[in-house]
Amino acid sequence: MRLLVVEDEERLAAALQRGLQGEGFAVDVALTGPAGLDLARHGSYDAVILDVMLPGLSGYRVVRALRAESNWVPVLMLSAKDGEYDQADGLDVGADDYLTKPFSYVVLLARLRALLRRGAPRRPAVLTAGDLSLDPARRRVTRAGVEIVLTSREFALLEYLMRRPGEVVSKIELLDHVWDAAVDTAPNVVEVYVGYLRRKVGRERLETVRGAGYRLVAEPA
């Protein structure tokens, strides 16, 4: 397993390198943001340990740049900033985990292992399908750059469909995942909301598959 440590504290970076090499990882170190981004782009790493406060380019911007290039390498952020919003921002721009300095080295290792287990599937922070984009953190939906205002139920429905692009999703599954388990929601409530959604995002984007359910299409035929 090959790791990249991007950290401007030279002694911390060196200690991490020593320790992780001792665990059997191959470790590269970058001391600045641009150097880290460059290495992450061109090397093939299994995970990146990334400081937030970096000279040249902040950790947030490094992650965002990587994700924008469809680089899904798992990223663990390290920061001495312990504000709730600092952590939330880090995760929302596309990091996979966040540790506050000073951290326990044992926990760092455990979290790294967990990240490596999960691998690097496509997991964008912002979902897209054709010209349609949905940002769960900001709760914003845009189509060709134009914002579409959705109710929270419509938003949840669209988010679920956008996570399964091109697949047929049954009414029962939608009912299970988008609506609360309780109450007497009749299956035709799904039809009603799909109707609302079609009016807002475009009729042709939500296909009805007779007898099976609905399908979100990225590029309407």
């Binding site: 401007d8 504290e9 002694r11 911390l12 060196a14 200690a15 020593r18 320790g19 300095k101």
Partner: protein, 458 residues
């Protein structure tokens, strides 16, 4: 009484004061009015009676007095001779007994006025009697007595008094209500200020707290504006303090994280650890932590209301510069001193050394080939300069670098730079010495200029 008065609301007090003042004024005014009315009516009665008396006296003098004497209204007229006999009388008057007794008659022979009881002429209430001497007669000069009952007059005064007794309390009542309302309306902005202020203390911090400003342009509006200004200043100070604490915590956590990770890694690697190297790293981080804590304490002390100034003594800056330069003999670039004449200031030697050292720290970090320290007199001040030939600082950032935790090190790794406190500390120290410090452009590089008040010790 005083305690009771103080317990009342301002509104009640103002209303009570207004109503009390008004009631007293109206009472005095009413009393004066009634008295004046009485006197005026009395005068008019007297002058009417006197006129009648004179008319009758003229008739007597001319010997043309008709019998009975003609009169108008309620007046009764008697003409009485020197012995008190009634010579003539009006139709409604007694023909035998004078209205005045002998003694009274004697007193008013030459003319006069007095009150007698009404029952003498068969009416109720007092009767005014006016005596007017008439011309010659048989036995002594006769006197004309004109009697007029005062009932009407008394009645008029009574009516006036009754009207006032009913009208004034009504007036006072109306004015009390108006005053209560008016004072309430005037004080409402004060109440909304109070409610606003109560909300501020209760509100969670973070929300910008402002008092409602009334639309008027009066004292209360000015008070609200002034208080809001104060709140804003407090909020700014609090925000600055919070930012400082957050920055300080961040700066303290970094070396601590290094220490912990270095130790944990070393422990985990066990025999494979290069312990002397670990010790070296730990020491470096411990020293950094120590320096940071010293700096933070220094700044915290500088923020105290009355920063304690250490022992002040005359300091020769040329020597001080040379001493600092010597400490930097091992720096990456040479540090030289240009100071030919002695330059004395009053100050703390340690503090001034710290100022120069912090500026040199910064200069050495950026200089390409060398750093030059100099001191020279400039009018009444001494100008100390620390000049480097590095890449320089954009004009827009030259003030910002003096703020705490400011680092313009976009392209610099942390270990090379400090925590961003050096220049802030230098400025605090210089200010404490009554001087100023700023950064100027030096062709290539930056020239830090410290101005200190000079003392002419030679």
């Amino acid at each position: 009484m005083v305690a009771w008065w103080r317990r009342l609301s301002l509104r009640s007090r103002l209303t009570l004061l207004a109503v009390g003042g008004l009631a007293a004024g109206l009472a005095v005014g009413g009393a004066v009015l009634v008295a004046a009315l009485g006197v005026t009516l009395q005068r008019s009665v007297d002058s009417e009676a006197t006129q009648t008396g004179r008319d009758v006296a003229r008739l007597v003098a001319e010997g043309a007095l008709p019998e009975p004497v003609p009169v108008t209204g309620e007046q009764q007229v008697q003409v009485v001779d020197g012995q008190g006999r009634v010579l003539a009388a009006s139709l409604n008057a007694d023909r035998l007994v004078p209205v005045l007794h002998d003694a009274e008659l004697a007193a008013v022979r030459g003319g006069g006025k007095r009150f007698v009881a009404g029952d003498r002429i068969g009416v109720t209430g007092p009767v005014r009697v006016v005596a007017v001497p008439a011309g010659a007669g048989g036995t002594g000069p006769p006197t004309v007595l004109v009697a007029k009952p005062m009932t009407d007059l008394q009645h008029s005064v009574q009516v006036a008094r009754n009207i006032l007794v009913v009208a004034f309390p009504l007036l006072i009542g109306v004015l009390a209500v108006v005053t209560w309302r008016l004072v309430g309306a005037t004080l409402r902005p004060v109440e909304s200020l109070r409610a606003g202020a109560a909300e501020i203390t209760a509100a969670p911090s973070g929300r910008p707290a402002r008092l409602p400003v009334p639309a008027s342009h009066d004292e209360i509006q000015r008070l609200a504006v002034t208080l809001n200004d104060m709140l804003e200043r407090l909020e700014t100070a609090r925000a600055r303090q919070r930012a400082f604490v957050a920055d300080a915590a961040h700066e303290l956590r970094s070396p601590l994280a290094n220490l912990r990770t270095e130790l944990e890694v070393a422990q985990r690697l066990g025999d494979r650890t290069d312990w002397p190297e670990v010790a070296r790293d730990l020491l470096a981080d411990t020293q950094r932590l120590g320096r940071l804590i010293d700096d933070l304490l220094l700044l915290a002390r500088a923020d105290a209301p009355h920063p304690r100034v250490g022992a002040v003594e005359p300091v020769e800056l040329g020597g001080l510069l040379r001493a600092v330069a010597e400490q930097y003999s091992g720096a990456a670039v040479p540090v030289s001193v240009a100071a030919d004449q002695p330059a004395w200031v009053e100050g703390e030697p340690d503090g001034l050394r710290r100022v120069v050292a912090n500026l040199v720290d910064n200069a050495v970090r950026h200089a390409r080939t060398g750093v030059v320290l100099a001191v020279r007199p400039d009018r009444t001040e001494l100008l100390v300069t620390v000049t480097d030939d590095g890449p320089g600082i954009p004009a827009a950032d030259r003030e910002r670098v003096f703020e705490r935790f400011t680092r313009l090190d976009d392209a610099r790794a942390r270990d090379a730079g400090g925590a961003g406190l050096g220049l802030a500390i230098a400025r605090d120290l210089v200010r404490r010495h009554g001087g100023s410090v700023r950064l100027a452009d030096a062709g290539p590089g930056v020239r830090a200029e410290v101005r200190l008040p000079s003392t002419n010790v030679t």
